[in-house]
């Protein structure tokens, strides 16, 4: 299914790539042209993605806008794309955030602008591809494609002091996980080939496979590790503060906004539906790690002297909520979880934008170097406050809806989980408000801060869409929930059905007999 006969998902994937190719032909000295062209491409990309939202049929859980062609037929590798209620919103988040990232890089990136913009568009292709791919190999390709430009963004345009360490750490952590995932993908392929005689990497086909529980544990483990590192879940999170701190602003925004979501999206699209029994059995482990992440992230965040590290640890805490909600396996938990993915993209993305804006002015991210900025930057203060409140999950903002539903879902599935995780509500307020106070309130103590300029028009334009989304998603969430209702219902029905059917799974003995 396509819109007006246009294969829209392919367009979305390859249009940024086309943009990158166009950039190749622009003289690298013409910085302004490079910026404008990239902005136009990202804007058009966003506009192309918008019809998806309106043309999306929210009554069905089936994949939509599907494109399906053979890629390597002999091995069953296909070029299969499609979106459902889960990926729809994430795709929109990606195209939306990319525009803002280009805008916020306007002045921040002055060095190798051409390569930077090309990397960014390349990254967008990777992200969209990973979100719409329905073939495991195709997904894996896009998954790895994302890695390279992100590695470059950190390693080349990062903060000179530690960017190489951070970039390599990021690369190695992610690679370690994804290599295991590749092995698991191949194993899954062979298991399916043996069971059905059909060579395919189509996830929708592979969902139907009943895999012995022991094997499920191993395969789920491999997938889960790859995704858990990306999320990142405690204790695999230590690459994140380094990557965030060293990355340029736009890199942090897109990393927090979209790349981390690839981990959580991976769970909900691949790890859980492919291996539901293993996921169900490991629920206590994942939930425990998620809760530890919520509390641990908050406590460590509280003590960070560096703004970006503080926000990075707050991400660990927020993503803990996402994982907890997902593994509540009820409507509120899972929907809250998906919503929180979007929220985190918006609010943490905005936080990085905001931190980036003072970094550009002061070239420091240390909280101790600020104080009293509200006085000289009142407009900045308003935006910062709103975003902080969204991150805290104040009712009326997007953060509340997600956090509330997740906690409610967790509470319903296990009271103890709900209660423990809810302490994050207190800690979240503590570390965010303390940070805000130290940066914005009090008297200006550093003479450098006295002459700081308030936000300019471009910066305001970058932040306004975020603020609109914060309130829209907080006040009228139905607009977005209605898109994912059917998909999530189906996801849960499917999941529960298969968990209940656990007894029917072939045991290793049976398999041995079949072999003979």
């Amino acid at each position: 299914m396509t819109i007006l006969g246009i294969p829209i998902l392919s367009w979305l994937i390859f249009f940024p790539l086309f943009g990158a190719v166009v950039l190749l032909f622009i003289d690298k000295e013409k910085v302004a042209a490079l910026r404008v062209v990239t902005l136009i491409f990202s804007l058009i990309e966003f506009i192309i993605s918008l019809p998806l939202f309106f043309a999306f049929d929210s009554t069905t859980a089936a994949m939509q806008f599907v494109e399906d062609y053979w890629w390597i037929q002999s091995y069953g590798v296909s070029y299969k794309l499609g979106i459902d209620g889960i990926s729809l919103l994430l795709v929109l988040l990606t195209t939306f955030l990319t525009v803002l990232c280009i805008l916020c890089s306007w002045r921040a990136i002055t060095f190798r602008v051409k390569e930077y913009m090309i990397s960014f568009l390349f990254l967008e292709t990777g992200m969209i591809g990973a979100l719409v791919a329905l073939d495991l190999i195709l997904f894996y390709v896009f998954w790895e494609v994302m890695l390279i430009p992100m590695y470059l963004l950190i390693g080349v345009w990062g903060d000179p002091k530690r960017r190489i360490y951070a970039a390599i750490k990021f690369f190695l952590f992610t690679m370690a996980g994804s290599v295991l995932m590749l092995v698991a993908i191949l194993a899954l392929y062979f298991i399916n080939l043996k069971a059905t005689g059909k060579a395919t990497f189509d996830v929708l086909e592979l969902y139907k496979l009943g895999i012995p529980i022991q094997t499920q544990y191993w395969l789920f483990g491999a997938f889960a590790l790859a995704f858990a590192i990306k999320v990142p879940m405690f204790p695999f999170h230590t690459w994140l503060p380094d990557a965030h701190t060293e990355a340029p602003t736009a890199g942090s925004v897109i990393l927090a906004g979209v790349l981390l979501k690839m981990g959580t999206y991976g769970f909900i699209r691949f790890a859980i539906p492919l291996f539901p029994n293993a996921a169900f059995d490991l629920l206590p482990l994942i939930s425990a790690l998620a809760i530890i992440g919520i509390i641990y992230g908050a406590l460590v965040s509280m003590m960070q002297p560096d703004l970006k590290r503080l926000v990075a640890f707050s991400s660990v805490s927020h993503l803990g909520y996402v994982m907890l909600g997902m593994f509540a396996f009820n409507m509120q938990g899972v929907q809250g979880s998906i919503y929180q993915m979007l929220n985190h993209g918006i609010s943490t993305g905005s936080l990085f934008l905001i931190v980036g804006m003072i970094y550009e002015r002061r070239h420091t991210r240390m909280i101790a170097d600020f104080g009293g900025l509200s006085k000289v930057m009142p407009i900045y203060a308003i935006f910062f406050m709103i975003v902080t409140l969204s991150s805290i999950g104040l009712p009326g903002t997007n953060g509340f809806v997600g956090e509330f539903l997740i906690l409610l879902g967790a509470f319903q599935s296990n009271v103890v989980y709900g209660v423990l995780a809810a302490t994050g509500v207190i800690l979240g307020a503590a570390y965010m408000l303390w940070m805000f106070q130290r940066v914005m309130f009090g008297k200006i103590t550093k003479p450098e801060n006295e002459k700081l300029k308030d936000l300019n028009a471009r910066e305001i334009v970058t932040l306004i869409p975020m603020v609109i989304m914060i309130f829209l998603m907080g006040i009228y969430p139905k607009l977005f929930f209605s898109k994912m209702d059917a998909t999530v219902e189906n996801f849960l029905k499917d999941f529960k059905g298969r968990v209940e059917m656990k007894a029917d799974l072939p045991s290793p003995k049976m398999i041995a007999e079949i072999k003979k």
């Binding site: 750490k169 190695l172 952590f173 204790p235 230590t238 503060p241 641990y296 406590l299 460590v300 965040s301 509280m302 003590m303 960070q304 009820n330 409507m331 509120q332 929907q335 809250g336 009293g372 509200s374 006085k375 409140l389 104040l394 009712p395 009326g396 509340f400 809806v401 509330f404 539903l405 906690l407 409610l408 509470f411 319903q412 709900g418 209660v419 809810a422 302490t423 509500v425 207190i426 800690l427 307020a429 503590a430 408000l433 303390w434 106070q437 914005m440 309130f441 009090g442 008297k443 006040i475 009228y476 969430p477 139905k478 929930f481 219902e489 041995a512």
Partner: protein, 663 residues
């Protein structure tokens, strides 16, 4: 008119938007009009609706208006919807009315502040949030208002954000309130899931209360205790009261509006709103009553030694909130709400009076540097005096009626107890003492005013004194809507609220008993007259206790001003303990703040940096070292490679061989 209930919160919302976006550009004149008139319109709407409501028979005084679906996920569904019933409209009247006068007062008080538009933006937002809290027809929207007012409180306490003490106080208020909200949110979860077990998936007030009987008592007890934790945060009760005294860092009209008259009473309102649940859980009611009365006497004692006039009033507010909780805790919901209303008048007035004193004395707060202001700022003095009489419980003023009803119910209600009454009565005497102490120190005796300040002491402008006078008027007459039957009056508050709070409580019985008794009293000399006599006796006792308190204050601060100092030196340890507020702030700092900070640092340095990154970097070094060693294997000699290949082949073959055997 009912259909237009949404207008009540809408006007302040419009005020918020206009002031927020245009206030700075269009200037003070614009803001001074928009701010108060937004609240005024909302007040008018509430009045219209109120009259329409009382035009209906009591059983039909309920109306709900759903605006739109809010959070809908599976069987969880909440709406943005408002409800009108006697309780919500009474609260709305109090809130919009008092807010209106305080907004007007603020026009004068804040006039020279550079943050003037910002001030009114926040203030309008506050009223909007407060009205959502009150008018909500479900728990979740109530929670929106609940946290929303907390936000405004945070913003307004820290209004002068350049002062560290102010921004600290704001943060403290928010975080302590979040501790309470943690309880509130868990209470909602438990309520939702336990009703869900019976197939009722709702957080809607009407549906919840209609189906509350399906819940088992233990669950209801847990739910109500959790909700009460929320109330303790918002309404500053033990152990979460610590934020309110610090909240005095905000502009004084804010202290008056948010931290005395309206927001802090939200907890009392919530308990009254959930009376159906509380009445099912005697244990929770006992907890509410005991926490209330303990807070009342404990903070009254702190009030003894405070020298900052706003701090005295702050502790007094906490103490009075304790009374309200005592009231609702013994099932006298309407008495609690009645006291909430009269307290809004007189405590709002006291704070505005303190603001007027500050205005006269160039911002002085220390009562040791005041004195003899009676003649210099007469309007402020007289209105402050009236409010002090009202809070002290002098017969004829509003505080007397409402406080006395709580005291009587604490004694006579089926949930009441003699000890509750006793403690509350003693606390009433203490209230009278410290309030008159404040009055005497401020307005009587010798002037201790700084000479630099003394020569331009002046009465506040009309825009400030008129609200004072209106509130003083209300502080006098506000009580006459709830005159006890024994005094031959008619308790209109009671009757009006009965459809909401009457059914739930066993109070109904007690109430019927009282009116029966008062009839008996009226016919005099009959058997029941004994109890009515008792009620009168109790009333007399509480008045006597109050008079004793006033007498001691007179003795200490007028007759013999050297006496307090003497006593303080005599009982030095005790004095320092009370003066330092029993060191609770310091204790909390050590227990919670410092320990969490150390934990955070410990986890970061110890676990993140040392354990995880240590492992990761360790592996990296290990690989580096290994590859350095392995490099030596690449000798370049063909026979070595051949050996390695054979070895590898043997291992692989061996593996399959073994596998084949064991499978």
């Amino acid at each position: 008119m009912f259909e237009y209930v949404w207008l009540i919160p809408l006007f302040p919302a419009i005020g918020f938007v206009l002031n927020g976006f245009l206030g700075r550009r269009l200037g003070k004149g614009f803001v001074s009009w928009v701010g108060p008139s937004a609240i005024g319109l909302s007040f008018l709407t509430a009045i219209f609706i109120f009259f329409e409501l009382i035009g209906r028979p009591p059983a039909e005084r309920h109306f709900e208006k759903v605006i739109f679906d809010w959070v809908v996920s599976g069987n969880f569904r909440t709406v943005i919807g408002y409800q009108i019933d006697p309780l919500s409209i009474l609260m709305a009247l109090v809130v919009t009315g008092v807010s209106f006068f305080i907004h007007i007062y603020s026009v004068g008080y804040m006039h020279d502040d550079p943050g003037y538009p910002r001030y009114f933006t926040y203030l309008n937002l506050f009223v909007f949030m407060m009205l959502n809290l009150i008018l909500a027809n479900n728990f979740l929207l109530m929670f929106v208002g609940w946290e929303g007012v907390g936000l405004c409180s945070y913003l307004l306490i820290g209004f002068w954000f350049e002062k560290d003490s102010a921004s600290n106080a704001g943060k403290k208020a928010f975080v302590v309130n979040r501790v309470g909200d943690f309880g509130f949110i868990l209470g909602m979860f438990l309520l939702f899931t336990s009703l869900g077990k019976h197939g009722i998936w709702t957080l809607d007030f009407t549906e919840v209360f209609a189906n509350a009987n399906k819940l088992d008592p233990a669950t209801v007890t847990t739910i109500t205790i959790l909700l009460f934790i929320g109330a303790c945060g918002k309404s500053a009760q033990i152990p979460l009261y610590v934020w309110l005294p610090d909240a005095m860092e905000g502009p004084t009209p804010v202290s008056s509006l948010i931290h005395a008259a309206t927001m802090v009473t939200a907890g009392v309102y919530m308990v009254a709103r959930c009376n159906v649940l509380y009445s099912m859980a005697p244990v929770s009611m006992a907890i509410v009553a005991i926490v209330g009365v303990a807070t009342a006497i404990y903070t009254a004692s702190i009030g003894f030694c405070q020298t900052d006039i706003k701090k005295v009033l702050a502790y007094s507010t906490i103490s009075q909130l304790g009374y309200m909780f005592l009231g609702v805790g013994v099932g006298a919901y309407s008495a609690g709400i009645f006291h909430l209303m009269t307290h809004a008048f007189f405590k709002g007035l006291l704070f505005l009076g303190a603001g007027s004193v500050m205005h006269a004395l160039s911002g002085e707060l220390d009562m040791r540097k005041m004195g003899a202001l009676r003649k210099k700022i007469p309007i402020t003095f007289w209105t402050f005096f009236i409010a002090t009489l009202a809070i002290a419980g002098i017969p004829g003023l509003s505080g007397f009626f409402s406080k006395d009803e709580i005291l009587w119910q604490a004694f006579s209600s089926s949930h009441g107890h003699f000890l509750l009454w006793l403690v509350a009565a003693v606390a009433a005497g203490m209230t009278a003492f410290y309030m008159f102490r404040a009055l005497f120190m401020t307005f009587f005796g010798q002037s201790r005013v700084d000479p630099h300040v003394a020569h331009h002491i002046h009465e506040s402008p009309k825009i400030m004194t008129v609200p004072l006078m209106i509130l003083a008027f209300l502080s006098i007459v506000g009580g006459y809507v709830g005159v006890p039957h024994v005094l031959g009056g008619a308790n209109h508050v009671h009757e009006f609220l009965a459809p909401v709070v009457g059914g739930g409580a066993e109070l109904g019985k007690a109430h019927a008993g009282i009116s029966l008794l008062s009839q008996a009293w009226a016919s005099s000399g009959e058997a029941g007259g004994h109890s009515a006599a008792l009620e009168l006796l109790m009333m007399v006792i509480s008045v006597v206790i109050a008079l004793i308190g006033i007498g001691i204050a007179y003795l200490f601060y007028i007759k013999n001003p050297a006496l307090p100092k003497l006593l303080a030196e005599r009982w030095r340890g005790l004095y320092r303990l009370v003066y330092n507020k029993y060191y609770v702030d310091e204790l909390y700092e050590i227990l919670f703040i410092n320990s969490l900070k150390s934990l955070g640092t410990g986890l970061w340095r110890g676990f993140d940096d040392f354990v995880i990154d240590g492992t990761v970097n360790g592996i990296a070094y290990l690989i580096g070292w290994l590859s350095g060693s392995i490099r030596r294997v690449q000798t370049g000699l063909v026979q070595n490679y051949a050996f390695a290949m054979i070895l590898g082949g043997v291992i692989i073959a061996g593996y399959y061989l073994i596998r084949g055997i064991f499978y």
